[in-house]
């Protein structure tokens, strides 16, 4: 097992390498650079641009810029500045004077740690996942236990809608219903301190996962219900409750639990459209903005974070399979 985990961790290196190289090449292929201003505004003059390019190392050859970002490079005084592998995601080109890690993980003065940008995104993701678990799993269990009743059909219809309708389209419907028509919440919340504001974004983000979880739980339950050991449990006179909880659920939830890890990563990563839709102050918002701003270090930083999140989530699934179901041997 240990060997397997190490091998999988090592395998993350080429994956992250490819992701960062591709991102790096694309962003440098894009016309324009971080010092360009919108047309019409006063442009940065060439001498200043050259100075800025030198200061940020943009005058160096491409491969060296890449190595400098990931591993590190010597600055003008000859001292070594460590790169992304030390957690240094570089200075932001647009928000001068701040580093990328400071923008993404930095906590505003006098506020709790969950008010960083990453904290906001993580809270939204966790909330959405919680919604998916709290509603999705019981819905799936009940639908399976009451198979072919109206409960089953209703939840199947809702789950079908949830799985197929993309979350941002769902977001549009909910915004129009709750913000425009019923005026229960503002279209663009001014403050995220009120819990009421979080409901719709979390619902929008979590709906697909909720539907998916419900469907997966239902089908997994239906499969388990037909197993011999369930019949045995009933035959030996166990209470129905005990049969359901101890014998069915334990086994039925294995596939469900394993998809929740990547679901969380998906919710964290997939949230940038939702973040943009609700002007949510998370990292997804920063990511989309940074690409149009050509804020090179921010693009690389956010991509790297997303890449690591997904890779770790995928690893977590494979490992959790081994722990939860001893029948599956990791080779």
């Amino acid at each position: 097992m240990g060997k397997y985990i190490i091998r999988r961790l090592l395998w993350m290196i080429p994956v992250l390498f490819t992701i960062t190289v591709v991102t790096f090449l694309f962003m440098h292929a894009a016309p324009g650079g971080p010092w360009d201003r919108d047309p019409g505004r006063r442009q940065v003059d060439p001498a200043t641009q050259e100075m800025l390019n030198h200061r940020y190392g943009l005058d160096k050859p491409m491969w060296r810029q890449y190595v400098a970002y990931i591993i590190g490079d010597f600055d003008d005084d000859g001292s070594f500045v460590c790169g992304a592998i030390c957690g240094n995601l570089g200075p932001s080109y647009r928000q001068r004077g701040r580093t990328v890690q400071d923008i993404l993980f930095g906590i505003p003065e006098g506020q709790p740690f969950w008010n960083s940008r990453m904290g906001y995104s993580a809270r939204l993701g966790v909330l959405a996942l919680a919604l998916a678990v709290i509603v999705g799993i019981p819905a799936g269990i009940i639908a399976a236990l009451r198979q072919n009743t109206w409960i089953d059909y209703t939840s199947a219809v809702i789950a079908n809608i949830g799985v197929s309708v993309p979350n941002f389209v769902m977001g549009i419907f909910l915004i129009i219903i709750f913000a425009v028509a019923l005026k229960l919440v503002p279209v663009v919340p001014l403050s995220w301190n009120s819990p009421k504001m979080w409901v719709i974004p979390a619902l929008v983000l979590g709906f697909g996962t909720m539907a998916f979880t419900a469907r997966l739980t239902r089908s997994s339950m239906l499969e388990v219900m037909r197993q011999d050991y369930v019949r045995t449990a009933r035959a030996k006179g166990l209470a129905e409750r005990a049969v359901i909880i101890r014998h069915m659920l334990r086994n039925a939830l294995i596939p469900v639990v394993t998809v929740l890890g990547p679901a969380l990563a998906g919710l964290l990563v997939g949230s940038f459209i939702i973040e943009r839709m609700f002007s949510f102050p998370g990292i997804g918002q920063e990511f989309v903005q940074s690409i149009s701003n050509r804020d090179y270090s921010m693009i690389m930083g956010t991509t790297l974070i997303y890449g690591v999140l997904i890779a770790v989530a995928n690893l977590a699934v494979d490992i959790s399979y081994g722990f939860l179901d001893p029948r599956i041997k990791v080779e």
Binding site: A30, P31, G32, F168, R215, L216, S219, L222, F272
Partner: protein, 329 residues
């Protein structure tokens, strides 16, 4: 003494089927059309395809024509909108903030969604099938190399990739071809073939040692013939199901990118075939959400309808082609 061939003929006569034989596809089709949701889905898709093809005939107005004094009209059934205007029977779904007919724009938008759904999927099929066949059929070295490549691409966060690629290459020559549609096709195809490649490879690996392939090899069939005549047809049904689920994904990505303002470039030239898309309409509607929510609502409903229709057909196809899968996910 009865020869072997004689007894074979006799037993074949005995075993003549009492019913006319049905092909796999005929059988699947009859199962598919018994599935109500799938039939509804097929009808919806057919309607949208017709709308997309005959957009110029069906659209009541030129989607780019600006009607002075007719801006921000609500749909026809609204008697008084937030802006105080009443619906106009000439503009069924109302007009946008500069006075263009929304219904006509939606109709033209269907074109982009349909073409975006189909084209990348076809490109992906070609790339994926070729790589999958190569990987499964050639030796372990090629297989290993190709599978490592697909692993890396599989781990790639695809929506991030689309966004980076679209924003980066938007202002290049490539990004301007066909109002940006060309770039969209490429972006969608480049990372999505891995699913197909894995699927085909899996099929090849499980089939290539089967007796019928061995038999084909015995009578001297070439590798190309075995692959195209014996192995590929057996991959078709999972591929058809895959397609039914891939097409709506492409449509969604177009809508997302359009919504973010980095998809299709809205045309100003009325000679353009692809004038606007649902994604573009979504981003336009988003700016006027309070005063004219219908501009946002109409394309959102279209996207939801088409995507659901494809999902229903996909579910139906999966059940029809592989009845063992029925009732599971």
């Amino acid at each position: 003494m009865a020869t072997v061939s004689e007894s074979a003929t006799r037993s074949a006569e005995i075993m003549v089927l009492s019913r006319p034989s049905r092909s796999l596809w005929g059988d699947a089709w009859s199962r598919l059309i018994r599935n109500k949701a799938a039939v509804v889905g097929m009808v919806v898709i057919a309607i949208f395809i017709v709308v997309a093809l005959f957009a110029p005939l069906l659209a009541p107005h030129d989607p780019l024509q600006i009607y002075d004094g007719k801006a921000t009209l609500p749909p026809v059934w609204v008697e008084k909108s937030v802006t105080g205007k009443a619906g106009d029977s000439e503009f069924l779904l109302g007009t946008d903030s500069i006075g263009r007919d929304l219904l006509s724009r939606i109709i033209y938008g269907a074109r982009v969604s349909m073409i975006v759904g189909l084209t990348p999927v076809l490109i992906i099929l070609v790339i994926g099938v070729v790589i999958g066949l190569m990987s499964g059929y050639s030796g372990p070295r090629v297989d290993n190399l190709l599978m490592r490549l697909t692993d890396v691409i599989y781990a790639f966060p695809d929506l991030l990739f689309y966004i980076i690629m679209m924003i980066s290459l938007r202002d290049t020559v490539l990004g301007k071809l066909m109002n940006g549609l060309f770039l969209l096709f490429i972006a969608l195809a480049v990372v999505s073939w891995v699913g197909v490649a894995r699927l085909v490879r899996g099929q090849v690996l499980s089939l290539k040692n089967k007796e019928f392939v061995e038999a084909a090899r015995c009578i001297g069939s070439s590798d190309t013939r075995i692959m195209s005549r014996h192995i590929l047809p057996n991959c078709l049904s999972p591929l058809v199901v895959w397609m039914a689920f891939a097409i709506p994904r492409m449509i969604i990505v177009e809508a997302v990118l359009g919504y973010l303002g980095i998809g299709l470039r809205p045309a100003t030239d009325s000679a353009a075939i692809f004038v606007t898309s649902w994604g573009v309409l979504l981003s336009e509607g988003n700016t006027t959400i309070n005063s004219q929510p219908w501009i946002l609502l109409a394309p959102a409903i279209c996207v939801a309808l088409v995507v659901m229709a494809f999902t229903f057909v996909g579910d139906g196809l999966r059940d029809a082609l592989d009845p063992r899968m029925r009732g599971t996910m």
